[in-house]
Assembly symmetry: D2
Homo-oligomer: 142 residues x 4
């Protein structure tokens, strides 16, 4: 992200769509408001590991990016993720992965957010499969 | 991973190649010995974010999978990653991502490992771009 | 913790009071029910760092122990904390530290919990000063 | 920490000794040079949990403070710890706890460090009992 204005969902979607890796994954921004961002990803066969479950790396991608967008909703687009922790709870098999991130604290140059990652079945049933928390910093140098 | 025997690099490579998402990423297992595993990924354009850097989600994938394989080298193939923490240090631009994971402690049903993630230039210069640490558990129930 | 029965708040308080370090800190168990535990600590002068704020190590102790007790409320008393991540948000100055932990997932041999740490003023105003998440395992070997 | 000059071990020891909670714990700074800091703590009976092991909260305190001092050795004394992750490996019973922290990357306003925590017996035998990694930020606002 490269400037300091506050983003709306259309601008944030443009940022997401300008990430080549997010297009490979097929991530969609389905919620974006101050302090919150939600990404969804169809659990396609090419996103799985050897036992048929969604690969942990996809969950980690989703946590990382949802945390970044949630923080970007309050810090502006010029941000970098500092790091995050993720705990895997249950394997995700089918349907849609939904990564919901919420900012728990935002200062002038850093925000901390949490993310809940659900596997949502075609019938709409949600199962929590991972939780994450992380920090995002502005890239402004002054 | 689905049985209890100890893996050699050929068998571990087969596990990696049977992960559809790892084929999407293009991950290669370049080291696998008891207590250590190293993955490499060519930093292709489709793995980038909007500013041309390698996407953090690829770094997170590499940390997750390198930690899992390092732990699998001592716990056997029937393992699940419990979670990990990653700190991003510097953006990775080009060349090859190398994720080197080392087990720091292994018990009967869990291992803890650390991972250093380097961007390696075509000239062979390495720059540390992220560090991670995480836990991996056996899936055996007794 | 040394047996498998489920604890009530009286038994859990006995466990806390049998931890010499928790007596040094002055921790009190003010809530304990299935899936939840809350600890409180008076922010005494001997718990501070050099600038007069509550020492981060006290916040880390409180996160660790609240996560452990919350997990113990569902896994039974024979548990060990595997690890946790904490992000500090704001310094805590005075009043009471309240560490509220909630289990987000419990399996047969492991639970994952989150903890919110508040500084509560004498007037009852709460300020979130840290967030944590961690894993707790049973010590049973079968 | 409250100014921007670089510390030597005498000045850093003064900072540690001006932390009331570190005096309660009995922490000593035994190494302090650019990019490294080591704390030691005698494993006294009042630092234990209910089973006679060193309380996890003491390990977490030691990780937090060793990471902060290691970062302070390169960032200067005006720093705040942003957060850290710790994984517990083995219980610590007796002797001395040694927390060795090393900076893995330092920028202008943030450093990332790792910490190895050993239980050292009176005979000098070291056992790794926890590993941590975390971030420390300057408090300068410009």
């Amino acid at each position: 992200m490269t400037s300091t204005e506050i983003l709306d969902i259309a601008a944030a979607t443009q940022v997401l769509d300008s990430q080549p890796f997010s297009r490979v994954i097929g991530a969609r921004l389905v919620e974006f408001e101050p302090g919150r961002a939600t990404l969804e990803i169809d659990i396609r066969d090419d996103l799985r590991q050897q036992n048929g479950f969604l690969h942990g790396g996809v969950l980690a991608y989703a946590a990382d990016n949802a945390l970044t967008f949630a923080a970007g909703s309050v810090l502006g687009p010029a941000v970098l993720t500092g790091g995050f922790s993720v705990n895997y709870l249950r394997p995700a098999r089918g349907g849609t992965l939904r990564a919901q991130a919420v900012v728990v604290h935002a200062g002038r140059r850093q925000a901390v957010a949490r993310c809940d990652l659900y596997a949502v079945s075609p019938e709409g049933e949600s199962v929590l499969c991972a939780v994450a928390q992380g920090t995002v910093m502005t890239t402004q140098t002054s």
